[in-house]
């Protein structure tokens, strides 16, 4: 195991005010960042600052504050674009990852899908990448195809290739599994799909937080993520789309800021991104996301990923030494999202004992019921490590699981 001496986790922790609080009289050990990450002071301050000093509606007023707010808002878009190597007109602000995927399902669906067409997704997906397509099955008569996973939680690439028939109009897959941490071979997926002329959307809600993403190098057609998992606020998400594809799609919602002209006879729409941003956007949240991107960029996505890998390796090694431990998701390429169960103890019992020790984990099906069932379980405990977690916290997780084992006699 290599140590990452240059990575000063204590300095990072000092930036996150919430990490110094206690729960049940014990220091908080926050291992639920895959659900929603905590926010550094830099994000909180940026949001407070804009509300205290620079707030007005954007893209509208001729007045000074509106221009300042617009500059901040559009500069957040530039930061997002730089972060993923896109251009600003390819970055759409949404309410979150779920809305980004629903936007594509709805607008790509209207423009490019008809009855009998197929969309390929997988058993591994978050419900947000299953349900919108199933809704299109109901409304448009498309068919949704699912790539299976093996017992390690790895996508069956041979099955994927076999599914790519002439009726497939879109591939929509997770970059990284929110339950298992599996990193999918997205370069191969995109190359295969493109060789048959099929565009690809990646659900990057987990992928964006655990390493650098370059949408141009990937040549991905749509990439989706949320702000709140990337140490930014909730209520803001991103849809990246290739410009030509975005402008081939109709608007998602109608309203202000997305039109060129409106007459009583009809309306013409702006191009992307504004075409897809009807109404007043989440101004403060977008600026918060910009600050979060500044923050993680300064630390470095590769440094964050290396630190998290260290935590994951230690957690997997120590947890697997516990008798009855079932590590769920053992893909060779995996990030710091760790699902597990202990034979004979319900995951909710484990999570409740951990909670009493101050250790916050998630329990249940993690919005991925088909995957949990495919892996042979009803529910799992999920510990997820972020940029601020420490090796001592890994030890507290392990000690908490051992305590649960004693309490429940398994």
């Amino acid at each position: 195991m290599t140590s990452n001496l240059a990575y000063d986790v204590q300095k990072i922790r000092a930036d996150f005010p919430i990490l110094s609080r206690e729960v049940y009289g014990k220091p908080l050990v926050f291992l639920d960042s895959a659900a929603s990450a905590q926010k550094p002071r830099q994000v909180i301050s940026a949001m407070v600052d804009v509300m205290e000093n620079d707030y007005a509606n954007v893209h509208r007023g001729a007045h000074y504050l509106s221009q300042v707010a617009t500059d901040h808002f559009e500069s957040a878009r530039e930061k997002v674009a730089r972060f993923i190597n896109a251009t600003e007109d390819e970055v759409i602000f949404t309410r979150g990852g779920t809305e980004s995927m629903n936007l594509v399902a709805s607008c790509f669906g209207q423009a490019h899908l008809k009855g009998g067409d197929q969309v390929v997704t997988s058993v591994m997906e978050h419900h947000a990448n299953i349900v919108p397509w199933q809704m299109l099955e109901g409304s448009k008569g498309i068919e949704v195809l699912f790539v299976p996973v093996d017992e390690r939680g790895v996508l069956d690439m041979a099955a994927f290739e076999a599914l790519l028939g002439p009726k497939v109009k879109l591939v929509s897959l997770a970059h990284v599994s929110n339950v298992l941490g599996t990193v999918n071979p997205v370069e191969d997926i995109i190359a295969l799909a493109h060789s048959k002329g099929i565009p690809v959307m990646l659900d990057g809600c987990q992928g964006i937080t655990h390493g650098s993403v370059d949408v141009k190098a990937l040549d991905v057609d749509f990439y989706v993520f949320s702000g709140h998992k990337l140490y930014g606020p909730s209520g803001i998400g991103v849809l990246y789309g290739k410009k030509g594809l975005l402008n081939s799609m109709p608007p998602y919602q109608g309203g202000g800021d997305m039109i060129e002209t409106v007459t009583l006879e009809g309306t013409t729409f702006k191009e992307a991104p504004h075409r897809f941003e009807a109404g007043t956007p989440a101004i403060v949240e977008a600026i918060g996301l910009g600050a979060a991107i500044d923050y993680v960029s300064e630390v470095g996505m590769d440094a964050i990923a290396a630190h998290e890998t260290l935590l994951l390796e230690q957690a997997m090694a120590k947890l697997s030494a516990i008798e009855g431990m079932q590590l769920i998701g053992t893909a060779p390429n995996k990030v710091s999202v760790l699902s597990f169960n202990v034979e004979g103890i319900h995951p909710l019992d484990i999570a409740t004992v951990l909670d009493r020790q101050g250790v916050a984990v998630r329990v249940g099906q993690h919005c991925a019921e088909p995957l949990i069932k495919a892996m042979g379980y009803e529910a799992t405990v999920r510990a997820s490590f972020g940029m601020y977690n420490t090796l001592e916290e890994v030890d507290k997780l392990v000690a908490g699981v051992e305590k649960a084992k004693k309490m429940f006699g398994a």
Binding site: I345, L348, E378, A379, M407
Partner: protein
């Protein structure tokens, strides 16, 4: 209204500190099955939806009194289900309909998270629905 068991639980919880309440509920879960929950009844139609663990509750009526037994695959939840079903069994329709959040709160007393309290309220509503009161 005969709610002796309810009172017993509420009094016991009242005397304990948070950590002890937590262990008390686990113990209830571990010892809940003096009346074993019949396996045939662990069917989907007896399942309560929306829980992080599975909860089954069945309902019978005897001489106009409603009786419940419950089961869960998580010990802590089984403790809560056991407390709820035993507390509120043996009541008439009118009495059962009069059970509210205030009653449930006394079986909780801060030992558990708000989410668990919401879960206990959902159990009560489910029991009231099963009894059609």
């Amino acid at each position: 209204m005969s709610m002796e068991l309810y009172q017993e639980y509420a009094d016991a919880l009242d005397m304990l500190d948070d950590d002890m309440r937590f262990e008390y509920i686990i113990d209830l879960g571990k010892t809940a099955n003096e009346v074993p929950f019949p396996e045939d009844f662990m069917r989907d139609e007896n399942l309560m939806h929306g829980c992080m663990s599975r909860v089954w509750i069945i309902h019978t009526v005897n001489d106009g009194k409603h009786n419940f037994i419950g089961e869960s695959d998580a010990v802590i939840v089984k403790g809560l289900v056991s407390m709820m079903t035993k507390s509120f069994s043996g009541l008439t329709s009118e009495e059962l309909a009069g059970i509210t959040l205030d009653h449930v709160r006394k079986l909780n007393l801060g030992a558990l998270t708000t989410q668990r309290q919401v879960g206990m309220m959902a159990m009560l509503k489910h029991m009231q629905k099963l009894a059609a009161v």
